[in-house]
């Protein structure tokens, strides 16, 4: 193999361009660095989370479709079959469930890897004290993959109904953009929770043990298995003021033409983000700063 020629071609144009200043307190923008670099880091981490989750299992990545199928089967059997939960309208319960599961599992997976990300990447952070945020941002990748799986399953379920009953149930149009709005809102919520819980989980294992129950509780009070209208009236405010209700309802409205989320529900969702996101960012930044100054 031939020796590689040294790069001598830059000559005149080599007058230094960008100036980087490394000081004790770097502005947020500087800490984030170049967007493209951080995106690459986040992408790499997100892929690693995916590989890690199914590593060592016999089925490996085949769990990606199997897990949603099992989840939907059990949900439809218990809630749609035994308990006879009505989704409202003439649509089958499984269609209602699978469309609601798309945003929920996007949120759930992103949250899971959001709070696990710092723990998972702590070896890296110990070696190279880089910003923590890309690790949390990367959590959206497993979430997106999971949501994609549910979407594919939803498509096949609807195709089945189209063939057997002549109705596809899911429709696309201008309102479909609300599905994206819902997903984006959920993504920000998941990142916010990750920013708060990620550093705490590293400090105390107890939080890690608690967070699962917390997520289960949120799952139960969020209208994924049922619609808000089917709840008894006195419990409806719980669902309406739950900040995750509006995003889920946005997705159902966009794909199933169900009712538009209540204004109070949308406001609760936006208010939650406006309050929580800056607090979470500040919290993460402070702990990151403290961590980088530690042994």
């Amino acid at each position: 193999m031939a020796d590689v020629a040294p790069p001598l071609s830059r000559g005149e144009g080599r007058v230094a361009k960008k100036v980087a200043v490394h000081s004790p307190r770097r502005p947020f923008s500087v800490r984030l660095g170049s967007f493209r670099c951080q995106l690459c880091v986040a992408g790499q981490m997100g892929r690693a989370y995916l590989r890690k989750y199914y590593f060592g299992s016999y089925l490996g990545l085949l769990w990606l479709p199997f897990a949603p199928i099992l989840d939907l089967f059990l949900g439809a059997l218990v809630f749609g079959g035994f308990l006879g939960v009505s989704p409202g309208g003439d649509r089958p319960y499984i269609v209602f469930l699978v469309v609601g599961s798309i945003p929920w599992h996007f949120f759930e997976r992103t949250t899971h890897w959001g709070w696990r990300s710092l723990q998972y990447s702590r070896r890296l952070f110990r070696v190279v004290p880089v910003p923590w945020l890309p690790a949390i941002i990367g959590a959206a990748i497993p979430g997106a993959v999971q949501a994609g799986m549910y979407s594919v399953i939803a498509f096949f379920i609807c195709l089945y109904y189209k063939i057997t009953q002549g109705t596809f149930y899911v429709s696309f149009g201008p309102q479909t953009v609300y599905a994206l709005v819902g997903l984006v809102l959920l993504m920000f919520y998941a990142w916010t929770i990750g920013m708060i819980l990620g550093p705490l989980v590293n400090m105390m294992r107890d939080i890690r043990l608690t967070v699962r129950y917390m997520l289960r509780f949120i799952y139960l009070v969020t209208p994924v298995l049922y619609s808000v209208q089917t709840l008894p009236e006195k419990y409806q405010p719980i669902a309406v003021y739950n900040p995750l209700t509006a995003p889920i309802e946005f997705v159902r409205y966009a794909l199933l033409q169900m009712s538009f989320p209540a204004t109070s529900s949308i406001l609760a969702s936006l208010a939650g983000l406006v309050v929580l996101t800056p607090v979470a960012l500040l919290f993460l930044t402070r702990l990151e700063h403290a961590s980088h100054a530690q042994l």
């Binding site: 193999m1 031939a2 020796d3 590689v4 020629a5 040294p6 790069p7 001598l8 830059r10 000559g11 005149e12 080599r14 007058v15 230094a16 361009k17 960008k18 100036v19 980087a20 200043v21 490394h22 000081s23 004790p24 770097r26 660095g33 170049s34 493209r36 670099c37 951080q38 690459c40 880091v41 790499q44 892929r47 690693a48 590989r51 890690k52 989750y53 590593f55 060592g56 723990q119 998972y120 702590r122 070896r123 890296l124 110990r126 070696v127 190279v128 004290p129 880089v130 400090m203 105390m204 294992r205 107890d206 403290a290 961590s291 980088h292 100054a293 530690q294 042994l295």
Partner: protein, 563 residues
Amino acid sequence: MTASSSEQIMLSVEHVSKAYSPPKYMRMKRFFARFGGLQLDELDDDDDDDEIVKEEEPDPTTEIGGPRRVVSEVSLESSGGAHIAIVGPPEAGKTVLLKMIGGIVRPTNGRVVVRGRVAPALAVLSDALPSGKFETSFARGLPYIAALVGIPPNLVRHRLDEIADLVGVRNLAQSVPARFDRRQRAEIILAMMLCVDPDVFLTDVPIGQDAFGERCRHRIEGLLRAGCLVLTEARGKQSLVPPPDRVIRLDGGRIVADERVVAHPARDVLDQEERAAGRGEGVGRELPAQADVPADGERASVEDDESRTGSDEGAAVVGDALGSSVEVRNQESHSAVEHGPPGFMGAVQERERRVTRVDGRRVHPPTGRNGPDLSQRSHSRRAMAGLWGREASWVHGAQGGSVPDLEALFREHWPRAHRAAFLVVQDAAAAEDIAQKAFLAAIRALDRFDRRRPFGPWLHRIVVNRAIDWARARALRAEVGGEALAERPAPELVVDAYSEPVAAALAALAPEHRAVIVLGHLLEYTPGEIADMLELPRGTVNSRLRRGLDRLREELPEDEDDD
């Protein structure tokens, strides 16, 4: 290089300090540990779906100290086209300074201003490469590392072939980092950083004398000609080629000498660095005589012969120190700079004289048996995260050149190392020789020893590996083990568990089986630890243990079956 690039200040380090504090949340964690009745090491047990990641924590019995200042009020400025060598003893703050310049570590005070693209080719980045169970290829890993330090990942993606050429590995892009050792990964990162057109290039990766090293030097010379500022952390003359324009010596986190190299450079500084790398500065006073240490220095001289084939002159000094004689070397570094006799260029020329040419290619003299010095001293959290009691403090002291600490380490570990060597080679003289050489090798490489780990397993690994090599070599030479056994070991070597019949039965085993049995049953390591030490799969260790014990059982008289 244009006039403007060479005159423009590329790097300005302004009163930069870096201090590390102990982790604050450890106190809280300990409180909860006590509250919940748990041991600290239980806290990080992972659950079923998680990778087991043990957090490296300071010893809970160790008092948490205050902030530790590793770089203190350092200022320097340089324009492009210059090569600055940063030298200093271990823990002088060299790597941390480079990390701060590279933007990897944030300073506690002061600021660093860098113009242009910084390419930090630091060995620590090799640990950040995705590897292990969830491994990925270099095609993904290298852009990721580049992105971590702010270099556009696409630039690296487009230059993967160029990097592969520089490294000399075909299909580098498809290769998996986990299949390369840390040194190789560090060299690949060095190659990558050389290929990204840096304006400021930093490295602490030793550049060897092989073809890869030659290509790297060629590249660095090209970068210098193109106006790039190059900063290298140097540990000896060999890592300083091309020769630096300026040598900055750090000690205790401060600049103690800053010399521009013109015609009267600082060879003596570099000589001193080499020695310091081998033994720690200040290993100059005489070691007290010890019963276990051979006083004649004869065995040390064997090591000298080996070590002098390369650049590890420090080993000779250590060898002498452990034997009987020592030289005092407490010069101030700046005085060495001022009065260094032949100068750095002299050193380079001297080395050049030793370079021969074969078919027009430069062939360098062989380096030491252990290859280039890979010592990585770091003040990162990772490196400083644990001080394991007494032994850690001895190691720390020995790394800093403390003779009493070196002596304490020796006293603690010599008997078992000697015994282990004997039980593997079954030859008292050879065992003494092997254990001694292993100890010298360990001390020589002490500055790259990770203090968070116990010293014993590291030493035993060297001892047992050398003993296996020796035993294999003897088998190849068709020497008869039984005859060697005629030379009886010193009585203290035969412990109760290894009585004469057992020792004789051990001699009948293959060296590999002997080694695992000695490690497992004399030194009481677990199969997992033995597997790590001997770099074998755990299953192989278990089967060797099983077969070895079965064979021992066959060889032993009935009443000693339990052994």
